[in-house]
């Protein structure tokens, strides 16, 4: 029977990937962030999943503005790394888990979440940077298969935080009914506070971020009750990506164990957060 073994919540800022790709992780600028990742990486490496369900958003690399799916899932057995405008990242292409993808699609649609299905999908930094946060040196292939689950966070109206949390709970039910013996990790990506455009560009709200890092474990209902406007005010116009962490949280048990967390400002224009949760609490 399938089981969610752990969850990784992490920012997916492209420059975090670029720092790894260009060997800059020990530079003065990046060292605090990557040092903060280390205990989480060691723990995750000892607890390898078969499949990572990665909840992320595309950044104008697979989808244009001609079609804007609110929720979408990849059902392919292979995903190419996207050329985002300067050539693809030098990381392996991603191997899919189409049987699990199709099971999730079927169960979630029956549960009222009408996902868009993608048989062909180039995956951008939103997906590959979290994979690199999990596994910095994959060699020729990533250590797990991937199911990509995409959320529109770019064009307003994004799905509400409450809807994201409800989708996570539906994913939890859908995984529980997957008959294969599969160890799954759920990645909630994006955030933390940041704003890229406007005269408020560079906005960071560390107090909010640190509160969110706690509440995602202990009080997700409160986060799910926040409006889009509250996310934009508190976390910046791109900080609304944090709603994707609620999909992750919904997919987990009510009680989870925090393995590690770290928080650092800045990663380019963004506050970078990471939290790893063990989902296998006895009792």
């Amino acid at each position: 029977m399938a089981e969610v073994i752990w969850a990784l919540a992490t920012s997916h800022v492209p420059s975090i990937g670029a720092a790894m790709d260009n060997g800059k992780t020990q530079d003065e600028y990046w060292k605090p962030l990557f040092d903060g990742y280390q205990p989480a990486r060691e723990w995750m490496a000892r607890n390898r999943p078969d499949v990572a369900l990665i909840i992320y958003n595309d950044h104008a690399n697979a989808f244009g503005l001609d079609v804007v799916p609110t929720f979408a899932i990849g059902t392919a057995d292979h995903y190419k790394v996207a050329d985002e405008g300067f050539g693809p990242r030098p990381v392996p292409d991603v191997v899919g888990a189409p049987e699990l993808s199709l099971h999730l699609a079927h169960e979630l649609i029956d549960d009222g979440f009408d996902l868009t299905l993608c048989q062909e999908l180039d995956v951008d930094h939103g997906l590959t940077v979290p994979l690199s946060v999990y596994c910095p040196e994959p060699g020729d292939e990533w250590p797990c298969a991937v199911v990509p689950l995409l959320v529109n966070v770019i064009q307003y109206p994004q799905p509400s935080a409450a809807r994201c949390y409800a989708l996570g709970k539906a994913i939890r039910r859908a995984i529980a009914s997957y008959p294969a013996d599969t160890r799954i990790a759920v990645f909630g990506t994006g955030g933390m506070s940041h704003q890229l455009a406007g005269t408020r560009a560079g906005f960071i709200n560390s107090e909010f971020d640190r509160w969110f890092l706690q509440a995602i474990e202990t009080d997700p209902e409160q986060l799910a009750a926040m409006t889009r406007e509250q996310y934009i005010r508190q976390a910046g116009s791109e900080g609304i990506e944090l709603i994707m962490w609620l999909i992750m949280r919904g997919a987990l048990n009510d009680r989870i164990h925090r393995v590690h967390e770290t928080y650092h400002v800045p990663a380019s224009n963004t506050a970078a957060g990471l939290a790893v949760f063990d989902n296998r609490l006895a009792g």
Partner: protein
């Protein structure tokens, strides 16, 4: 949160956060051709074609005169005002080898160095 009634009789939520673009369907319609142009930079051949003749490339995508001027003059704020979305406009910046910090400075009246310093000092806060 405020609710306004528009002429179609549908309630619409509006968000007004100072200094902040909320990229909604109206902005997406306004900026569609501009964003489509930037979107085309996913392919290396298109990047080369743009660089070879920027003006003709803008015409090919049917940009408005205002959008075309903003692109040719690299008026980043004007691009956003004309419906450009940051993730699309950034593809043009990448073509120029400009960073997101450069853009952040440009949007908020700073040099790239000043903006990087701001971020390293903990970022911008609301007053």
């Amino acid at each position: 949160m405020r609710w306004l009634t528009h002429n179609l009789g549908m309630p619409r939520e509006t968000i007004d956060v100072p200094g902040t673009y909320v990229f909604d369907g109206v902005a997406s319609r306004r900026g569609y051709r501009l964003n489509k142009l930037c979107d085309s930079f996913r392919q290396a051949g298109n990047r080369a074609a743009f660089s070879a003749d920027e003006s003709a490339y803008c015409d090919r995508f049917g940009l408005s005169p205002e959008q075309k001027r903003a692109v040719l003059e690299r008026d980043w704020t004007a691009m956003l005002d004309l419906g450009g979305n940051i993730f699309y406009v950034f593809k043009l910046a990448m073509l120029d080898r400009r960073s997101m910090q450069y853009l952040g400075g440009s949007f908020s009246g700073m040099t790239e160095e000043q903006f990087v310093h701001l971020m390293r000092s903990g970022g911008r806060r609301d007053d």
